[in-house]
Symmetry: C2
DNA sequence: GCGATGCTACTCGGATAAAAACTGTCCGAGTGGCATCGG
DNA sequence: CCGATGCCACTCGGACAGTTTTTATCCGAGTAGCATCGC
């Protein structure tokens, strides 16, 4: 059960966009990739997922790039995780209770969901609740102010 | 982020062992695999993980097999999930904040952990807490009594 | 001088390969029961 | 009849392939700015 690295990348990029894009400018993939030494093409793939989810908006052309689609306070960590990992939960009940020994049971016994699936779903719900309670704005507040400034200074050095 | 199917298998096997092994007998892999139409060899691999974690005990020999190492009330879902999936969390912080733009930052800035990692860890902790709050005994109570009896009857038909 | 127009460089976006993890399979070491043999 | 002993069938346990998911890469479609050309 390994979460995609794209989640970490996406969150750091959201934070960076919140810092750099304050003046309304778009940031291209190449610059975000350079900011964290990530493979640019694959990072682009992750950012596209965020666009599809409505978290980012993309602009084509020579001065194009990505920027946040809405205020950081309205982007939860759950939004980002779901955008990258997909809507399905980690645990998927295959209903093996109905196979083998359970094949001869009356169908009405399987009307109520499998207790194991319920328990696992409950845990994942708690996980989602915690993720939904945190926003990108919270991450901005928690990060040291120097990081924001360093990122902004670094961006100037990258202008060719 | 897909959880291994072995988790579902292991939980169903723990439930089955609690039902069948009441009289102290061990249940071999082949019988558990037949009970859910699972690949026997791979299921055996999962059961070995449970043995390593101290959840099951295995007995070799002609009347051998697996049985619960302790009472169902003392086996949490977290125990089983950790045994199959390993102790590491789903999210692993790669500290990309220290690379690229952050490479020139003073080391003391990275003493406190990455805010993103903290937030993700908090969510996973909530997930673990829910899993730890549920035991195999709770699953036994939640399952319909007919399932227990059916499994016991079915077992008799499997004796060669 | 001013506007329209064609061009170029740069961007995103999706289709295409390599790598890793998960899933599935096989065979060997070890053990306990059981039949046999001897006393 | 009772005990010791050797054998055998059955079990777990770890080493070996196949398949799906993840990671990484490349190239094409499209767009915005800019220089050029014409009026």
């Amino acid at each position: 059960m390994k979460m995609s690295e794209g989640v970490e990348w996406a969150l750091h990029c959201c934070l960076t966009l919140a810092w750099l894009g304050k003046d309304g400018g778009s940031v291209p993939t190449a610059r975000l990739a350079a900011a964290f030494e990530l493979p640019p093409a694959y990072l682009n793939k992750c950012l596209q997922l965020l666009v599809k989810a409505g978290i980012l908006v993309s602009t084509a052309g020579v001065k194009g790039g990505f920027r946040l689609a809405r205020a950081p306070a309205r982007i939860t960590l759950l939004d980002v995780v779901t955008a990258i990992e997909g809507p399905e939960g980690a645990f998927r009940c295959a209903e093996i209770r109905q196979r083998g020994a359970g094949a001869s049971a009356p169908p009405r016994e399987f009307v109520r969901p499998c207790g194991i699936a319920v328990a696992m779903r409950r845990a994942e719900t708690a996980w989602r609740r915690e993720l939904a309670a945190q926003t990108v704005a919270d991450l901005l507040d928690a990060a040291p102010p120097s990081a924001s400034e360093r990122m902004r200074c670094w961006q100037l050095t990258q202008v060719h």
